[in-house]
Structures are given as structure tokens and as C-alpha cells.
């Protein structure tokens, strides 16, 4: 498949991602934040598709947007947020925090510009068709151990979450 209108889609999706990220950190209502985050995640999975990583894009939608965000929405529904909406939304070190983060961002960009040579501008294209297969081979071959550890991590997380969230065990 030949890419269509790549720059347009890139700027569109990247813009959407960043816009939704800004919405996430500025909205008063946590549900609106979550909504914006979902939008951002979907836009980002579009970016993954443009990077010829369809499997990651699929996992992003199914796990992030369909799984984790539902969890977030659930918790937001459970905790009473009426009151916290009326409170001050930002903490005391907000100015310092913002400045520090912007400085960090500046640092990143500086590094990118300095080290431009490190990233070849033209990319070698990976065949899209067998992407899933290759990822699978890596996952169950080279990264087998890490994969098992990850599953263990999830198990621990499940138990931890249940222990903490349950009233009586």
C-alpha cells in the first residue's frame, strides 16, 4: 500500500494528540480529561499505523482505549468528584512545575537538533504484511523471559489492585 497524503495525516494526527494532551491536563472535570485522553490515544494509534506498526496500533486501541481507559472512567464514576471540581485544580508549585517541564522539553529538542545526525532522515521500510508475525517471533523468541516477567507483573498488579480496592477480603 502506498501511503496517501502522509504529511497531512501526520500533522493532523500529531495535532490531535497534542491538543488532547493539553485538554487532559487542563480540564476541571476528570471525565472530560479521560475523554480527551481517549481521543489522544486513538490519534496516536493512527500515528503508529503511519509508522508501519499496525500491531502496536491495534494493541493500543484494544488495551489502552478499550481497557485502561474504561478502568479510569469506572474509578472516576466511583469517586465523588463533584466536590473536587470546585476546588483549586492546580497545586502550589504549578508555575515552577510548568517551567521545569518546559525546560525539559527544550532540552529534548536541543538534543534532537544537536544529534540530528544520529537519526537517519530516510527510513528503511519494513514490510507491513508480516509485522504481526515478526513481532510475535521476537516476543516469543528473544523476549520470552521478559514476556513471562510481564505476565507475572500483571498478576501481581491484579492481586495488588484487588487487595487495595476491596473493602473486606
Amino acid at each position: 500500500m502506498t501511503p496517501v497524503a502522509t504529511p497531512f495525516f501526520f500533522y493532523f494526527l500529531a495535532g490531535l494528540t497534542l491538543l488532547s494532551a493539553i485538554l487532559v491536563i487542563t480540564r476541571k472535570n476528570a471525565v472530560h480529561s479521560a475523554l480527551a485522553l481517549i481521543l489522544g490515544l486513538l490519534a496516536q494509534s493512527g500515528l503508529y499505523l503511519m509508522l508501519y506498526a499496525p500491531f502496536v496500533a491495534g494493541v493500543q486501541i484494544i488495551l489502552y482505549a478499550g481497557g485502561i481507559m474504561v478502568l479510569f472512567l469506572f474509578v472516576i464514576m466511583l469517586v465523588n468528584l463533584e466536590r473536587s471540581q470546585k476546588e483549586e485544580q492546580f497545586n502550589r508549585q504549578k508555575v515552577a512545575g510548568t517551567l521545569a517541564a518546559i525546560a525539559l522539553g527544550g532540552l529534548f529538542v536541543a538534543v534532537f537538533i544537536k544529534g540530528k545526525a544520529l537519526f537517519p532522515a530516510s527510513s528503511n521500510q519494513i514490510a507491513e504484511g508480516s509485522n504481526t508475525q515478526q513481532v510475535g517471533e521476537l516476543l516469543y523468541g528473544q523476549y520470552m523471559f521478559a514476556f513471562e516477567i510481564a505476565s507475572l507483573l500483571l498478576l501481581v498488579a491484579i492481586i495488588g489492585a484487588v487487595v487495595m480496592a476491596k473493602k473486606r477480603i
Partner: protein
């Protein structure tokens, strides 16, 4: 129009990371702080996937691991949040100033 290179993606990821950090540092609501952490993780993922276009699929595999971790983190984080909310009736981070209650 300039062709889209890896650098473009990196800049987007950096901006996303920055926004995430701002969220973590400035917001009081724990839920939104957790969501900002998701933003940070996503920025990392974007980096990884962008690089995987240059240096093989390892980046994508790593991105999948990051998503797994994000799921675990969200589950535990929200579990803590619920336990905390049950005891203190607040969702503000700056009121989490006790090690035990």
C-alpha cells in the same frame, strides 16, 4: 511539504512528554495525575515505535511491554486511589501527606 522524518515524530513525542510532566507536576487530582503518567508512557511509546522504523522491530516489542506496564500501573494506581478515597474522602495528591492513617 517537507517529508515526514523520524525527527518529526520525536518532536511530537517530546511535546507529549512535556505535557505529561506538566500534568504530573501541577495537577492536584490524582486521577488526572495518573492520566498524565499515561501521557508520559505514550510519549515513550511513540519514541520507541518511531525508532523501530530505523533499527528493527525491537522498539515495537518494547512498546508492547510498556503498554503492559501501563495497564499494571493503572490498575494498582487506581486501586490505591480507591483505598485512599475510602479513608480520606479526597482525591487530591497534596493531601496525601501521611505514610499511614
Amino acid at each position: 511539504m517537507v517529508p515526514i522524518t523520524t525527527l518529526h515524530y520525536l518532536v511530537v513525542a517530546a511535546a507529549l512528554f512535556m505535557l505529561g510532566v506538566i500534568g504530573v507536576l501541577t495537577r492536584r487530582n490524582v486521577v488526572i495525575v495518573l492520566m498524565s503518567i499515561e501521557l508520559i508512557l505514550n510519549a515513550v511509546n511513540l519514541n520507541l515505535v518511531a525508532f523501530s522504523r530505523l533499527w528493527g522491530l525491537h522498539g515495537q516489542v518494547f512498546a508492547i511491554f510498556v503498554i503492559t506496564d501501563a495497564a499494571a500501573e493503572a490498575a494498582v494506581g487506581l486501586g490505591i486511589l480507591i483505598a485512599f478515597f475510602r479513608n480520606k474522602e479526597t482525591v487530591n495528591v497534596d493531601e496525601v501527606d501521611l505514610l499511614k492513617w
